[in-house]
């Protein structure tokens, strides 16, 4: 069946791929998965992006480091209002968009729709109405190539629970966006318990978020966040998949080697701490 990654060679009745990569077959569909390709958004992917500009009743969000590739839009109806109320967005809301999200803010959102044809997606529409999505503050942003992040069940994970070495008791939340953006912050703990109980009240969540934003991070928390960031950088440098398990392994290795946060990015140390991840692949 004709897809988008290959062409037919009429003479020999062969199919020739037009790009390099691994071949994947599903029934009669043949796909060529490229190792380094631009992020192609699918509905339901969680992403981490940055606000580039404000247009009429929507924000323009960029999902890559370069703000022109992969433009996406987050409409005004796609966010939760700060007071938590559910109502129609009025013109007053449209005029005060800047108070909610400014240019340069980092947000987490989900892809709602990809309109139009094409690999990169014609027009990507986001929405940030679920509990996990919204403005991200008081944390650290890392950008990695999008192909290092595999699609999994939970993209927003909490690390540093009991039994995990290297965290010194600090719990850290890592949000892995499918577009390659990663956000690290200290864990907003109450969110976990509420998610289990099944009924999440929006106002409570908003309060937790603002608390988290306003509270200053202590030195220990900042150290651990920095360690996690360096761990991710290390994984990026050795081209290893960024998964929670890999991050945990690197943190454990760092604790065993006993180096400081700054030393983690030295080439020899990187080789050392990422040895464990290489052994498995």
């Amino acid at each position: 069946m004709q897809g988008q990654d290959y062409e037919e060679d009429r003479q020999n009745q062969h199919l020739i791929a037009s790009t390099t990569g691994t071949v994947m077959r599903t029934n009669k569909l043949i796909q060529v998965i490229q190792p380094n390709s631009l992020y192609s958004p699918q509905t339901g992917d969680p992403i981490i992006g940055r606000i580039v500009s404000i247009a009429s009743s929507k924000w323009n969000v960029s999902m890559s480091l370069n703000s022109t590739t992969l433009p996406a839009s987050l409409p005004l109806t796609g966010i939760n209002l700060p007071d938590g109320m559910q109502r129609m967005r009025t013109s007053a809301d449209a005029l005060s968009m800047r108070e909610v999200l400014k240019e340069g803010d980092v947000i987490s959102a989900e892809v709602r729709m990809v309109q139009g044809q094409g690999v990169g997606g014609g027009n990507i529409v986001l929405h940030a109405r679920s509990v996990r999505c919204g403005k991200l503050e008081n944390g650290c942003f890392v950008m990695v190539p999008s192909w290092l992040i595999a699609r999994r069940k939970k993209h927003f994970v909490v690390l540093g629970n009991e039994g995990e070495e290297g965290f010194d008791g600090v719990r850290v939340e890592v949000l892995l966006g499918c577009n390659g953006g990663i956000w690290i912050q200290r864990a907003m703990m109450e969110l976990e318990d509420m998610a289990d109980s099944g009924s999440i009240i929006l106002e409570k969540v908003q309060k937790i978020r603002t608390d988290h934003a306003n509270r200053n991070t202590t030195l220990e928390e900042r150290t651990v966040v920095a360690k996690v960031r360096n761990a991710i950088e290390a994984l990026k440098i050795v081209h290893c998949r960024i998964t929670p398990e890999n991050i945990l392994m690197v943190m454990k290795a760092t604790a065993q080697v006993g180096c400081s946060v700054m030393d983690m990015l030295r080439p020899e140390i990187i080789v050392e701490i990422t040895k464990c991840t290489r052994r498995q692949t």
Binding site: M1, Q2, G3, Q4, D5, T26, N27, K28, L29, Q31, Q42, T43, G44, P46, E110, V114, Q117, V119, S130, V131, R132, R151, R152, K153, K154, H155, F156, A195, G198
Partner: protein
């Protein structure tokens, strides 16, 4: 006037309206306005369509003030009839029950052509709710003083009064959950991070009752308390292990006793329902049985003699009153006399007596407290041993229990002369001479002590329940089951005696401790199960569907949605699995747009037609339809294998209906509507509805093509959409101007 006549079949509506061809109910002015409106409606249609037979007939009828409304009409005609009716230009309207659901169409009178209808599975009378809905159309607010409802009775006599009363005054149908798990929903929920399918199921109406009970009964708190208490008991148990010398195997002993108790009770139940209240001689008075009821009564492995067999209610065949026995307490039993409670009278229930330093108890023995029945049977006279309380003031259900000895005993140790011929017996005097009862009770106790000794030394023989089953009316498997059970009982009993605990003098205390622990643990497990996901009604269904999706490669082992899954998410209108398989098998690749649309119509069209695949359609299309059928059969088969109760053939036939394939093919090619109507017996309204839904499906398949990355299919679907969107099928609604 105006009146609505409800019939329950479209054909009937047409027939009746046809019969009134000569009737004219409109004045000249009204006829004019109706005519004008009809012409306005016609303007929206192309001239060819305006000459369709249905259109012409309806317009003609409408001018005379008669209207017809049912699902087979073209939508634009339906709207026209509705608007004219609301304007009072139609005096009599023949409709099906869908008209009752319409907004703002009241009439002065409502006529029911019949009160029975076919609801898809069977022919039945109207439900009260449906009746109310339809009859409620009668009477226009502000215009009529009363609304009239007339029921036609075409038979000899009117319908029975009871049926009518139920229909008119009965309560409407209860709300029941129609929540169904579909693959589309499962896949969409698996894509989103926040929601889980279990959460969705928990919030549906079907789980409303159970979830509310969980919160009101505070099961989570109970569970926490129970787990804590259980942990404490376990600790205690381990701590006291050194006290239990000689009875280390008490836990296994308990488990085995439990199994034996349940087997015996099942066997006895079976016998009781088949052969009568003495269970074929096993529970006849004088029989020695071994009972265990540690916590409630303080008996463990205690011999007991049956004094009165259980009573069975003749109506329900269940035990209405358990057997009464005299049980011997173990040596270690410590009887605490509670002075506050009323002392039970001698020879009555719950009486505890002493003889030669052994205590005995009159008690009810439930079937699940009997360890096993021994072969020993003594001759005793139950009437001297046991005196039942009188039954005055107690109502017996079914009246099956006969009270043999009912008399009040004013003072203990005195007897009344009764009719059963105990004439010789002397009344007890104060000198202390023994009465017959004392003698018999002493005899009984010694028998029991003897039985206990026998059990300790050489073990009592177990009565095989099989032998008691003679002369009973058994059903089918019951006889085999009884045989199995009786063998099981004998084996278990023999095994029981291999445990050291069986002969331990302090067995009662240890057994009670274990019983407490085990029963609490059972309660905790039951609570935990209730609160978990497994107790959701739809959960097994969900697991089966998920495993099917994994087999078909829609999701991977971690429940992440793959390409096929994402394609299936796009399909909302019809069977998503079949469409996805079609796309991935490349079925739609060689077909051109009209053929694609025709093939897809099989998924949308849901009515029964006799004609299957028309032989006049092109070869490629026929092959495609055959392939679709194969896919459907395959899917049905797979679903069956995964445990979903779906018959493959029935699945295939219900999801694929090829009746309109030819029609849609011709329509997509550009054939005018009048011609395609003649191709089939399906009514015009259904054709129009099918094609409109088909347009929606085309859009979804186009999205699927985008997800997959197939631009040719994308373009083909767009062409197909354009090809079917024309003329009368897509004429805009009259309500939207």
């Amino acid at each position: 006037m105006p009146t609505v006549v409800f019939s329950f079949s479209k054909k009937k509506c047409e027939e009746i309206a046809h019969m009134l061809q000569s009737l004219d109910l409109n004045t000249a002015a009204e006829r004019n306005s109706a005519h004008l409106f009809a012409i306005q409606t016609m303007k929206r249609l192309s001239p060819k369509d305006a000459s369709l037979p249905q259109v012409v007939a309806t317009c003609e009828m409408v001018k005379r003030g008669i209207g017809v409304h049912h699902g087979g009409l073209l939508p634009i005609l339906k709207e026209m009839v509705e608007i004219l009716f609301s304007r009072n230009l139609i005096k009599v309207l023949f409709a099906t029950e869908t008209f009752a659901m319409g907004v703002n169409m009241p009439a002065r009178a409502v006529v029911f052509n019949s009160i029975r209808k076919h609801d898809g599975t069977r022919f039945r009378t109207l439900e009260p709710g449906e009746y109310t809905q339809m009859a409620g159309r009668a009477g226009r607010r502000g215009l009529d003083k009363v609304g009239t409802v007339i029921m036609c009775c075409f038979g000899e006599e009117p319908p029975p009064q009871l049926m009518l009363r139920n229909m008119l005054t009965g309560s409407s149908t209860r709300l029941s959950s129609q929540f169904r798990l579909t693959y589309n929903m499962i896949l969409n929920l698996l894509r989103v991070e926040d929601m889980t399918v279990e959460g969705m199921i928990k919030r549906s109406f079907s789980e409303f009752a159970t979830q509310r009970a969980l919160t009101t009964n505070e099961y989570p708190k109970l569970l926490k308390r129970g787990t804590k208490a259980l942990a404490k008991l376990e600790e205690e148990f381990v701590r006291d292990a050194d006290i239990r010398i000689g009875a280390e195997d008490i836990s296994h002993y308990y488990a085995l006793s439990f199994k034996l108790l349940s087997s015996t009770s099942e066997g006895l139940n079976c016998l009781l329902s088949a052969v009568g209240n003495t269970a074929g001689g096993s529970l006849v008075p004088g029989r020695i049985v071994l009972v265990t009821s540690a916590r409630k009564k303080g008996l463990v492995r205690s011999p007991a003699i049956v004094v009165q067999p259980p009573q069975i209610s003749s109506t329900t065949k269940a035990v209405s009153s358990p057997a009464v026995c005299i049980a011997l307490f173990p040596n270690s039993y410590d009887h605490v006399i509670d002075d506050n409670k009323p002392k039970p009278k001698e020879f009555h229930l719950n009486y505890i007596g002493t003889y030669k330093n052994r205590k005995y108890l009159y008690t009810h023995v439930e079937l699940d407290e009997i360890l096993f029945i021994s072969q020993i049977k003594h001759k005793i006279d139950p009437r001297t041993l046991y005196k039942q309380e009188s039954s005055l003031g107690r109502a017996h259900v079914g009246g099956a229990s006969r009270v043999t000895n009912s008399f009040f005993s004013a003072k203990p140790m005195t007897r009344q002369v009764d009719d059963f011929g105990f004439g010789n017996l002397k009344a007890r005097g104060k000198e202390g001479s023994r009465t017959v009862e004392d003698q018999s009770i002493e005899k009984v106790i010694s028998l029991l002590v003897e039985a206990e000794a026998m059990e300790d030394s050489c073990s009592l023989d177990v009565l095989p329940l099989k032998e008691c089953s003679k002369g009973g009316a058994f059903q089918g498997d019951d006889a085999f089951r009884l045989g199995d059970l009786s063998n099981q009982i004998i084996n278990f009993a023999a095994e029981l005696r291999t445990y050291k605990s069986h002969f331990h003098p302090n067995l009662l205390k240890h057994y009670t401790a274990v019983e407490k622990k085990e029963s609490l643990s059972a309660t905790v497990t039951a609570l935990r199960h209730l609160l978990s996901n497994e107790s959701l009604q739809l959960f097994p269904d969900f697991l089966q569907r998920k495993s099917l999706l994994k087999t078909l490669n829609y999701i991977d082992e971690n429940d992440t949605v793959k390409v096929k899954g994402r394609v299936a998410c796009e399909c909302n209108t019809c069977e998503e699995l079949i469409v996805t398989e079609m796309v991935f098998e490349g079925l739609l690749n060689e077909l051109d747009p009209p053929e694609i649309v025709a093939a897809l119509s099989a998924l949308i069209f849901q009515e029964k037609t006799d004609v299957d695949l028309d032989p006049e359609i092109p070869e490629r299309l026929k092959l495609a339809c055959e392939a679709m059928r194969k896919i459907a059969l395959n899917l049905g088969q797979l679903q069956n294998e995964h445990g979903l109760m779906i018959d493959p053939l029935e699945y295939c036939n219900s999801s694929l209906k090829f009746g309109l394939v030819h029609v849609v093919y011709d329509w997509a090619l550009g054939v005018p509507f009048s011609n395609i109507c003649q191709l089939t017996s399906v009514q015009e309204g259904s054709i129009v509805r099918c094609i409109t839904r088909l347009d929606e499906l085309c859009r979804e398949v186009r999205n699927c093509a985008r997800v997959v990355g197939n631009p040719t299919l994308y373009r083909k679907m767009e062409e197909a959409s354009v090809a079917i969107k024309r003329d009368i099928v897509f004429a805009s609604s009259l309500y939207v101007t």
